[in-house]
């Protein structure tokens, strides 16, 4: 490999000088066409983030409805039919339309900036992924509003979701939503991995890759391996329902347990690829606000990778109450407990970083401290759940509801809310208000614990999950009321947070390039970054490029701005390898996404949609990939060194 590398600066010598920003070909067309056709990772990333937060708001609204219903025993506010749709859609939105996409959305925005790249790999595919995600999510919400939302839980266990007991088209909407989000998730994952491995700035060898980026690569790789399992399962569910295959039908030799294995083989790693992006954000915030690099970089990276591997070995702990053999269960107990070790290593490394740092206690760090408190509790109840005997008692009770919210909100939402405050100046160019930020943090932190802590006790006291009501004689009333009041506090804190975001975006003080004094490359460019990310692509000389004296060793010259040239570097050492012309903006991914949406939604109703939809998608994709002669000529000019 090293033979093929071209020393920086010698890239096709004098032919071209580094164009000025005004001459940039990166900006792309304006107007509606430009808006629909953009392939700028920052615009797509921003859209992705905003859309994911809108789905978070929708899911949160549904949660508030559930808490209103459960506030008092024997309440008649929502009937079982609506309630089942609401809790199923709440879970589905939060897991598939918020938690996974928001991590990927942050990666789409930040990873190219952190590795010093001009753009993201496969940008049209990322644009396509966004549109497919948006359309799928809208489909789910429309189904819910029309009273045909999924009602068999976010896990859609068969046979309840199968053809015999799942009425109407409700579970089909769920299964197709999975298809939408998985197509989107897989594409973004591929793009993040390719960007990180092949487009890093020269000099950013693997041992200098920021922890944030490492975590996102681990997340994306996990997505690549986990999502096919649930895609397979949901497709089998659709064929069972639509064309009468009997994959899950026990009466015809199928097996309902197969569904659980396939589903959890995806859904347990999913928990980890929801919270590893949270760890990514924590690593960034801890370093910046402790004013020093994270302690134990190799240990943290190896822990992330270990988590990624172990996460695939514990899905059966969701199935301890089925008749899995006892010895097998002990294996999964051990694996479920072992995965706590890499998380503990990271926790200790961060605490050590703070211990030996100089602490700048600002809102993002508050959220990280909240993360420590909440995630540690959630992790410890997770260890309890790994023990088979204890799990048999609290499985499918409110104890698990408490546990999973401590892990997912603690592990993903706390860092995310801190991360938004942290990168807001970079993305918007203005800063959010510090006092309002702290106020909304405290309200959120207290509200969260008031909501979810009592659920531990409710679960031990026998309250099962997914019940639309409970009897007054159970004695569960007061704790449920407390929990509902906490939910209102969470709602208030999030409204305050949104107010702070809007206020900051409209009239916050101008941020400047690097308001927090961060050490990674995104803080070296303007806020918000220009379309081409960096006026001069950096050559990296250290792990914290902006903090080390020789952190930015130089810059890459001779990369054409007008022709949108990007530098491809080697995987391990990030040595310059060749340059490549980037594609131009196009609306075809948008139209292909519409065609794909037609195929997916129509196939809820008729199998013929696959027959007629496939040529449609093929046609649109052909238009998308249709080569242009002019572009091919330029490719030849630039990429083949003239000898």
């Amino acid at each position: 490999m090293s033979d093929a590398t071209i020393p920086v600066g010698a890239l096709d010598g004098a032919r071209r000088s580094d164009d000025a920003a005004e001459d940039s070909g990166w900006a792309g067309p304006g107007g509606l066409v430009g808006w629909l056709g953009t392939i700028d990772h920052k615009r797509i990333g921003r859209r992705f983030i905003v859309t994911a937060f809108l789905f978070f708001a929708a899911g949160g609204f549904l949660a508030a409805l559930m808490r209103l219903q459960l506030a008092v025993p024997d309440s008649g506010f929502i009937g079982p039919d609506r309630y089942n749709q609401i809790f199923s859609t709440h879970g589905t939105i939060m897991m598939f339309l918020f938690a996974v996409p928001i991590g990927q959305a942050m990666a789409v925005y930040l990873v190219p900036l952190m590795v010093g790249a001009r753009a993201i790999a496969f940008p049209r595919m990322v644009a396509f992924a966004y549109w497919v995600y948006l359309f799928g999510g809208v489909m789910l919400l429309v189904a819910l509003v029309l009273n045909i939302g999924p009602d068999a839980g976010w896990f859609s266990y068969v046979p309840l979701a199968g053809p015999q007991f799942g009425i109407g088209k409700r579970s089909d909407f769920w299964a197709q939503l999975i298809t939408f989000t998985e197509v989107s998730g897989l594409m973004v994952a591929v793009s993040i991995i390719a960007t990180t491995l092949k487009m890093r700035a020269p000099g950013m060898s693997l041992d200098r890759v920021p922890l944030f980026v490492w975590a996102m690569v681990v997340t994306s790789t996990m997505i690549l391996f986990a999502m096919p399992a649930v895609m397979l399962a949901s497709t089998m569910l659709i064929t069972d329902r639509l064309v009468g295959t009997h994959v899950f039908n026990a009466a015809e030799g199928g097996d309902p347990l197969l569904w659980q294995h396939l589903f959890w083989f995806f859904a347990h790693p999913e928990v980890y690829f929801i919270f590893i992006p949270g760890l990514a954000i924590v690593s960034s915030i801890v370093a910046t606000f402790a004013r020093r690099p994270v302690f134990g970089y190799p240990a943290v990276v190896l822990s992330l990778i270990a988590t990624g591997f172990l996460a695939f070995g514990l899905w059966v702990h969701h199935m301890f109450a089925t008749n899995v053999p006892e010895l097998g269960k002990s294996f999964f107990t051990a694996a479920s407990m072992a995965i706590a070790i890499p998380t503990a290593i990271q926790l200790f490394c961060w605490i050590t970083t703070l211990w030996h740092g100089r602490i700048n206690l600002k809102t993002p760090l508050y959220y990280v401290l909240g993360f420590f408190f909440v995630l540690t509790l959630g992790g410890l109840t997770g260890i309890m759940l790994a023990a088979v005997p204890l799990d048999l008692q609290v499985h499918d009770t409110y104890f698990v509801v408490a546990h999973l919210h401590y892990v997912l909100i603690g592990g993903a939402v706390f860092p995310l809310l801190g991360g938004v405050v942290y990168w807001f100046p970079k993305i918007i160019g203005r800063t959010m208000d510090e006092r309002l930020g702290r106020l909304s943090f405290w309200l959120f932190f207290i509200g969260f614990n008031v909501t979810f802590f009592p659920m531990h006790i409710l679960g031990l006291a026998g309250m099962p999950r997914r019940v639309y009501t409970y009897a007054g004689e159970s004695g569960w009333g007061p704790l449920n009321m407390m929990s509902s009041i906490g939910a209102l506090m969470i709602a208030a804190s999030l409204l305050l947070y949104v107010f702070n975001v809007v206020r900051g975006a409209l009239q916050g003080p101008s941020a400047g390039v690097d308001p927090w004094g961060g050490g990674t490359l995104e803080w070296s460019t303007a806020s918000p970054p220009p379309a081409h990310n960096f006026d001069a692509m950096p050559v990296v000389g250290g792990r914290e490029p902006l903090w080390e004296s020789n952190g930015i060793a130089g810059s890459v010259v001779n990369l054409g701005m007008k022709d949108r040239e990007v530098l491809i570097t080697s995987v391990v050492e990030a040595k310059p390898h060749h340059r490549e012309l980037f594609p131009c903006a196009t609306t075809w991914p948008f139209f292909t996404a519409i065609g794909t949406t037609i195929l997916f939604i129509a196939s809820i109703f008729t199998p013929w949609a696959v027959v007629w939809g496939s040529p449609l998608v093929a046609l649109l994709a052909t238009c998308w990939w249709w080569p242009s002669l002019a572009e091919a000529r330029r490719h030849r000019e630039v990429e083949v060194p003239s000898q």
């Binding site: 079982p80 039919d81 089942n84 839980g153 266990y157 046979p159 309840l160 026990a250 009466a251 097996d255 309902p256 347990l257 402790a290 004013r291 109450a321 089925t322 107990t333 051990a334 706590a340 070790i341 290593i345 200790f348 605490i351 703070l354 211990w355 030996h356 740092g357 100089r358 602490i359 700048n360 206690l361 420590f372 540690t376 410890l380 309890m384 790994a386 023990a387 088979v388 005997p389 204890l390 048999l392 008692q393 499985h395 499918d396 009770t397 207290i446 614990n449 009592p454 006790i457 031990l460 006291a461 026998g462 099962p464 004695g475 569960w476 050490g519 250290g542 914290e544 903090w547 080390e548």
Partner: protein, 348 residues
């Protein structure tokens, strides 16, 4: 400092809310509590809970104290503080040692709870099953069918939603499902086990304390998952034998004219298409066996107390109490309805 005091007041206030809520749960009429063990299995699990709670609390406190010290001892900085980039080159020996120690300690803690877990599992699996009572429990949307098995066919009988078991004698359940996945769970007695269509599972338990324990379906099973409860009545062996003997008897021939009319209404209306009453021609198995309905304390799988007025209302419009239940409404003429309730009330 008023700031600190108000935080303390807030914390104390929230804690007292939690404690109050927890006492309300304990004081409730329902016996449905994983910590209040009424049998050896639940006791083993409650013991494991105590061990894990202690270990986890210690770890949690340890981590929080370390974090608090880190925050308090570290000097203040701000965004302009020069970053300590030398840390990349320095060997941070004491810090490494502290982290390694902490990781070793947590691994040891994990090994401890793992062993405790395996120990509890073995205790659960090793329960003595000699002389066990056998019950086949079938889950239906949204009720429980229990068949008390016996080598002699004449001794076999069925009931629904209320199990009686003798104190101190192991019970072996065969768990089946007629439709979707359900989960059998009586927290005071043992953990849960799923009832999965196409699979049969066995599950055993023993109740040592006499009493009535409530259980509830723990796997989401559709509209009325919330109202799929069952009661386990644990009583002295001779009391249990008397109860079982009664359950084996068919329904008596009604004596009074209105109960006679009630029975005829039952047999002539749609009731008999789903329900069975032994001793009559009604033998359908789609819905709970009603041969000894009046001996049970609840109606509709724990939804309503078993009182004549509730029964009348339930028959008239089950969807009002349990929307989505498979039983249709019955608009019977008032006299027929009264007679029906009167006859059902005689099915002791």
């Amino acid at each position: 400092m008023t700031h600190r005091r108000s935080i303390r007041t807030l914390g104390a206030g929230l804690w007292s809310c939690v404690i109050y809520g927890a006492t309300q749960v304990r004081a409730a009429p329902f016996n449905q509590d994983a910590i209040a063990a009424a049998g050896p299995q639940a006791a083993h699990i409650a013991h494991l809970w105590n061990v894990m709670l202690a270990v986890c609390l210690a770890v949690f406190i340890g981590v929080m104290v370390a974090l608090a010290i880190a925050i308090i001892r570290a000097p203040q900085g701000n965004s302009a503080t020069p970053p300590d980039s030398d840390a990349l080159a320095r060997e941070e020996r004491p810090a490494s040692r502290a982290v390694v120690l902490a990781v070793l300690a947590s691994t040891a803690g994990l090994a401890l709870v793992f062993l405790a877990s395996v120990h509890a599992e073995r205790a659960l699996a090793g329960m003595d099953r000699t002389g066990a009572l056998h019950i086949t429990l079938t889950g239906h949307q949204y009720w429980w069918e229990a068949q008390y098995d016996d080598p002699a066919p004449a001794q076999v009988f069925s009931t629904a939603n209320e199990l009686h078991v003798p104190v101190g004698r192991p019970v072996i359940f065969t768990l089946l499902s007629d439709d979707v996945i359900h989960s059998f769970w009586v927290p005071n007695v043992h953990g849960k086990k799923d009832l999965i269509p196409g699979h049969s599972a066995t599950f055993d338990l023993r109740v040592d304390q006499p009493g009535t324990y409530r259980g509830q379906c723990a796997e989401f099973c559709g509209y009325q998952h919330a109202h799929m409860a069952l009661l386990v009545v644990a009583e002295a062996p001779d009391e249990f034998d008397r109860w079982a003997q009664r359950q084996r008897q068919p329904a008596a021939e009604p004596a009074a004219p209105d109960t006679k009319r009630g029975r005829d209404v039952f047999l002539a209306s749609t009731c008999a298409m789903c329900h069975a009453v032994s001793g009559t021609t009604a033998s359908a198995r789609k819905a709970p066996d009603l041969t000894h309905l009046a001996s049970r304390s609840t109606l509709a799988a724990g939804t309503l107390p078993n009182k004549p007025e509730n029964l009348a209302r339930w028959i008239e419009d089950p969807q009002r109490y349990k929307p989505g239940v498979n039983m249709p409404p019955h608009a019977l003429p008032p006299q027929d309805a009264q007679a029906l309730v009167a006859w059902l009330g005689t099915l002791q």
